[in-house]
Point group: C2
Chain length 241, copies 2
DNA sequence: TCTTGCATTCTTGTATACCAGGATACTAGT
DNA sequence: ACTAGTATCCTGGTATACAAGAATGCAAGA
């Protein structure tokens, strides 16, 4: 692999490793139970163990890895209760925020939101889904900004990570963008006419679209979820008993 | 200083350093702008830089430290907007949770809560405030459990850390416990008769007691807060410009 | 006296060497 | 054939050595 010409800036290299591993876990390329060792990953990226170690530790705290001292580091399974609670966090915070935003939004804010909607429409028309998802994120963050709580976004981000892992398993992203755009536009309309209740209703539905199918997804991909996996770290814990 | 006989369990030593530094920052013993170096702290605790480094990184991510590469590590000032948003997070999540709990609580749950209230009353009577605050935390966590969202508590915990830092500056903890206990009891009463709206109202007031005085506290302790500190890391950034 | 340049020193970032403990595979004994 | 014991390997945990950059102090010149 070997990235990092280095010299860019300290800790930038580790950041890149983090983003790469994080993405591979969320996208399911690294399956739960997969074993990662500091030495191997470090070798793959042309780094020593030290910076890789910090990345592992960060992913461990976020619930993506399980570091077992003297044994190994493994990709963590998805915990359904944890995902459920992440949904609770995101839905609760974003819904109250959008209600506040509906009350606080200035004409300039509404204009900015409408511009974001336009950009999203263009992205879909161009088939540039990566950009669309970036704009999606940007819009939700902007709503939090209008509500006057910019720092809350990082809480949402950590919750979202768990949800994205499930969302990716549903694979149905092909047809979703249009619906998401529709919901975004409706939310902005509600905000424009200061309809807090309407905005909350749409936001709730919006945030639940990806979450709704979790039971079905868990049934279809049992090896990704916690509880009686056939292989992976479950085997380790089983042998411990 | 020198703790850690080691051999207890891996990473336990670092955990102790974390808790100690965290406590000293929250309690204000380490003032914003104070300089910490990995080597000095490591020496003080009888550890090498490696485990201390991970502690620094963690405190940095939580907003308690500012690590500036090749320069040093400093205790971060309190950011009023960050505290405000932490309050938003805690209040929003706990209020919805307590409403859910009011609907979901079984007689056994109510009994457990009432027992917690009794324990809190005993602690105050004994003057054991440390135990009281532990029971306070336990009660809030238990409410989240009744609401069916155990994992949300760790989100609250990180938000609470920022709030505790402000709360400590208010110093008025001597007369508070009685009031807090009163509020706790009222919340449990609301839950017992499934009065969600009432529980939310009391919980909101309860959570805002510590937060209410933030403006005054910021005015009384300007050196603890972000924005035009007379000394500390502000001086560094000033020189950069 | 003030400014400018340099060298020293201190910081974190990174790499590497060593330690302790658990998992595994092999071997000896039954 | 199977079980128990043991030796080895592999893991993360820790300590330490080295590198790169920034701040500071001093000295030399104007």
């Amino acid at each position: 692999m070997t990235i990092a010409p280095r010299h860019l800036s300290p800790r930038a290299t580790g950041q890149q490793v983090y983003e790469d591993l994080h993405g591979r876990i969320v996208r399911g390329e690294l399956r739960p139970g997969a074993s990662l060792t500091e030495a191997r990953i470090g070798e793959a990226y042309g780094l020593s163990r030290t910076p890789v170690r910090e990345v592992f530790w960060r992913l461990n705290e976020e619930g993506f890895l399980r570091v077992i001292p003297q044994v190994g580091t493994f990709v963590a399974p998805i915990s359904v209760p944890a995902v459920r609670d992440a949904q609770f966090v995101r839905e609760t915070l974003e819904c109250r925020a959008v209600a506040d935003a509906a009350g606080l939004a200035t004409p300039a804010d509404v204009l900015a939101l409408q511009r974001l909607i336009q950009d999203q429409r263009s992205s879909i028309a161009d088939g540039d889904f990566a950009n669309f998802f970036a704009l999606d994120e940007q819009m939700h963050r902007h709503l939090m900004l209008i509500a006057g709580h910019p720092f809350v976004w990082q809480v949402i981000t950590s919750a979202k990570a768990q949800l994205d892992r499930v969302r990716f398993l549903s694979l149905e992203q092909g047809t979703w963008p249009a619906m998401i755009l529709e919901q975004h536009a409706t939310i902005v309309d509600c905000i424009a006419r200061h309809d807090a209740a309407g905005a909350v209703a749409i936001m709730t539905a919006h945030l639940r679209t990806a979450f709704a199918a979790i039971e079905r997804i868990a049934a279809e991909h049992p090896d990704f979820f916690e509880g009686s996996e056939p292989s992976g770290i479950a085997a380790i814990f089983r042998k411990r008993a």
